[in-house]
């Protein structure tokens, strides 16, 4: 009879599954950029505690966030770049009206391994390194050591910002290592002596060394006063001006607690 018992329990699980489906709470679904990820995740924890509204956060890249919003499969799309005209057109075609809210400012820090003596790089040196023209640290005043170039996956808003601000139409060398997120770039740079990468300012800590660009050290102050050139705004896109809980969520950066969370995470509050 044991065997039948196991079948019965299987059936029981099945029925429970179907029966339980009646009570479903409306959760806020967030998808998109890994750069905005830390903010979104911390906001989510804060929000769940304060309003008891469930929030789910996926970090799959800015492009994917836009796509999810257009397909109606998320409420908020985190993006580390602004939406492209094609994306907006596609959204309009599907009856979705993407509205951007600025979450925070973020500097793009060029980082190297702490053992690297290089302190400063000019914009054109960075472009040369990433296009494969400079392949050894000696060429930029460092030790004789090959450069390991680390870039981001093509769905990353950080990558697009970098290409727009630094590469200006030049191509990233195809031997560049590609990582899927800020965290993994930092991880790789902190472990690899010859590495160079770019990550959001909020991700930097003592494991990697920030390099000044054109003589300006990346920091909250230099980003805020526009002297540091590698900076961009981070967005949350929603369908129309959101009301209710989604609206509250998007407006968090304007609240006192929201500002503090952003500051503690190492980003720069815009409001």
């Amino acid at each position: 009879m044991k065997k039948y018992g196991s079948i019965c329990s299987l059936l029981l699980v099945m029925t429970l599954c179907w029966a339980g489906s009646a009570e479903a709470a409306k959760a806020i679904v967030i998808d998109g950029s890994t750069t905005v990820g830390p903010i979104a995740k911390s906001f989510a924890s804060y929000f769940m505690k304060k309003y008891q509204t469930p929030v789910t956060v996926s970090e799959s890249g800015s492009g994917n966030g836009a796509k999810s919003l257009i397909n109606g499969s998320c409420d908020i799309a985190d993006m580390s770049r602004s939406m492209k005209p094609q994306e907006i057109a596609a959204a309009k075609a599907k009856g979705i009206n993407p509205v951007a809210s600025v979450v925070a400012l973020d500097g793009l820090a060029m980082v190297v391994h702490p053992s690297n003596p290089v302190r400063n790089l000019t914009e054109s040196q960075i472009a040369d390194i990433y296009s494969g023209k400079i392949i050894n640290w000696r060429q930029v005043g460092g030790a004789s050591f090959p450069i390991v170039v680390i870039q981001r996956e093509s769905n990353s808003g950080t990558q697009e910002t970098f290409k727009e601000l630094v590469m200006k139409g030049r191509q990233v060398v195809n031997s560049a290592e590609t990582q899927a997120s800020n965290g993994s770039v930092k991880n790789r740079v902190s472990q690899t002596r010859g590495a160079i990468g770019f990550i959001g300012l909020g991700y930097t800590d003592s494991l990697v060394k920030k390099v000044s660009v054109n003589g300006v050290t990346p920091s909250a102050a230099t980003v805020n006063n526009h002297t540091y050139m590698l900076a961009r705004e981070l967005f949350m896109y929603t369908n129309g001006r959101p009301a209710g809980m989604v609206g509250r969520f998007v407006d968090l950066p304007k609240t006192l607690d929201g500002k503090r969370i952003i500051k503690e995470l190492g980003f720069i509050s815009k409001y």
């Binding site: 890249g61 492009g63 257009i70 596609a90 195809n174 690899t192």
Partner: protein, 393 residues
């Protein structure tokens, strides 16, 4: 068992009673129809699998074809310029295809000899009691989830390779090559002195040749070892790392399937060979292996497929740089594979605008699908043929 067989007796008695009565033609027809329709339902459910396969092909192909229609075949297969996000975009997948081939080959180089030898050991050498414990352990290697392997490759193995990669390679070289060379030296000196008949002369010559060959082998070991130790590994997330981890994952498949093939070779063949005075090694190499060769080939294909289709390990630990290493066999450089590209690039896959960028990933999926289908087909044919040969002669 007792319970169910008792029940079954009851049932049988009932149905037996009913069949005593003469059944009308109409009823028989009805019975037949219900039986047929029942069978039809079963068939329908069984063909669900086939339908799913068709669906997968259809869905992947449906989104892959527009890519080739938009961009043609040439760029995809011949260029290694992978810039999907640039203006204008370029979709040369050659380097990515090459990366897939590279890690698959690398893992096969490690896993195939080890797997085949281990399976021989399991089926013919180890006593049954030991085998009982060894097999589940090997199956454990297969059961560990791929993301755990990926985590190991990224967090433990990559930093290790980067920091002490040279010494690790050297030690591995010594551990693996030294015993093999030692055996080779012993055997070779035996073979060299075999024709000599006179006893004292033979012993001396044997010793001399062994010493000579041994010192040659030692020199070889030392120089290769020193070269390996001197290697500087710039980045631990590279093709070597991934190949080693993938070979762990392919090993269990190769071992268990080729062990089955070796078991399928009957005792008669082995006993015949032993009766003719062959040693165990000779029996295995000259009799058992040829008989099981096609089954082993099938096992190898299955193992390789596992390595080719693996996603998480390569995504986490291959470095994902879409270029052909320089020189092309340099396993210490980062590479990018098809599976990792699909997983990583799906982000920008904006199907809404129907760009080539989205469809190219499906083209890669289709490529993987076709390769896995073809190799599966081949391995299946091989197994069927072997079964025929072994049973029918």
């Amino acid at each position: 068992m007792q319970n169910s067989s008792g029940m079954h007796e009851n049932e049988a008695a009932k149905s037996g009673r009913s069949s005593v009565f003469v059944v009308s033609a109409r009823k028989r027809k009805l019975q037949k129809i219900s039986q047929k329709s029942g069978e039809g339902t079963l068939l329908l459910i069984a063909s669900f699998v086939a339908i799913v396969v068709l669906f997968i092909f259809w869905f992947v192909a449906r989104d892959a074809v527009p890519y080739f229609r938009l961009r043609g075949f040439q760029e995809f297969f011949t260029s290694s310029e992978w810039y999907p996000a640039d203006e204008p975009p370029r979709f040369g997948a050659l380097a990515i295809i090459y990366g897939s081939i590279m890690v698959t080959l690398g893992s096969a180089l490690i896993a195939v000899p080890m797997g085949v030898i281990a399976s021989i050991c399991l089926s013919d050498i180890l006593p049954f009691t030991v085998r009982q414990y060894v097999k589940p352990v090997i199956e454990m290697l297969a059961a560990i989830p791929s993301v755990a392997y990926g985590f190991f490759a990224l967090v433990v193995f990559a930093p290790l390779l980067q920091n002490v990669g040279g010494p690790i390679l050297m030690w591995t070289w010594w551990v693996i090559a030294a015993p093999v060379l030692l055996l080779a030296v012993i055997v070779a000196s035996e073979l060299l002195t075999a024709p000599i008949e006179k006893e004292p002369k033979k012993k001396v010559l044997h010793l001399v040749s062994a010493l000579f060959l041994g010192s040659l082998a030692l020199l070889f070991l030392y120089f290769v070892g020193r070269h390996l130790q001197g290697l500087v590994i710039m980045s631990g997330t590279n093709a070597l790392n991934v190949s080693i981890i993938l070979s762990f994952m392919a090993l269990p498949t190769i071992v268990s399937v080729s062990e089955d093939a070796l078991q399928a070779v009957g005792r008669e063949l082995r006993e015949g060979s032993y009766a003719l005075g062959a040693t165990r090694a000779e029996t295995i190499i000259k009799t058992v292996l040829p008989a099981a060769s096609s089954g082993i080939l099938a096992a190898v294909i299955l193992g390789i497929m596992r390595a080719l289709g693996e996603t998480m390990v390569v995504w986490m630990a291959s470095g994902n740089s879409s270029h052909i290493p320089d020189p092309f066999f340099n396993y210490l450089e980062s590479i990018r594979t098809l599976t990792a590209t699909i997983a990583g690039d799906m982000g920008e896959a904006d199907q809404v605008t129907g760009s080539a960028r989205f469809h190219v990933l499906f083209a890669m999926g289709l490529l993987l699908l076709v390769v896995s289908f073809v190799s599966n087909f081949i391995s299946e044919r091989i197994v069927v043929r072997q079964r025929k040969v072994l049973s029918g002669q």
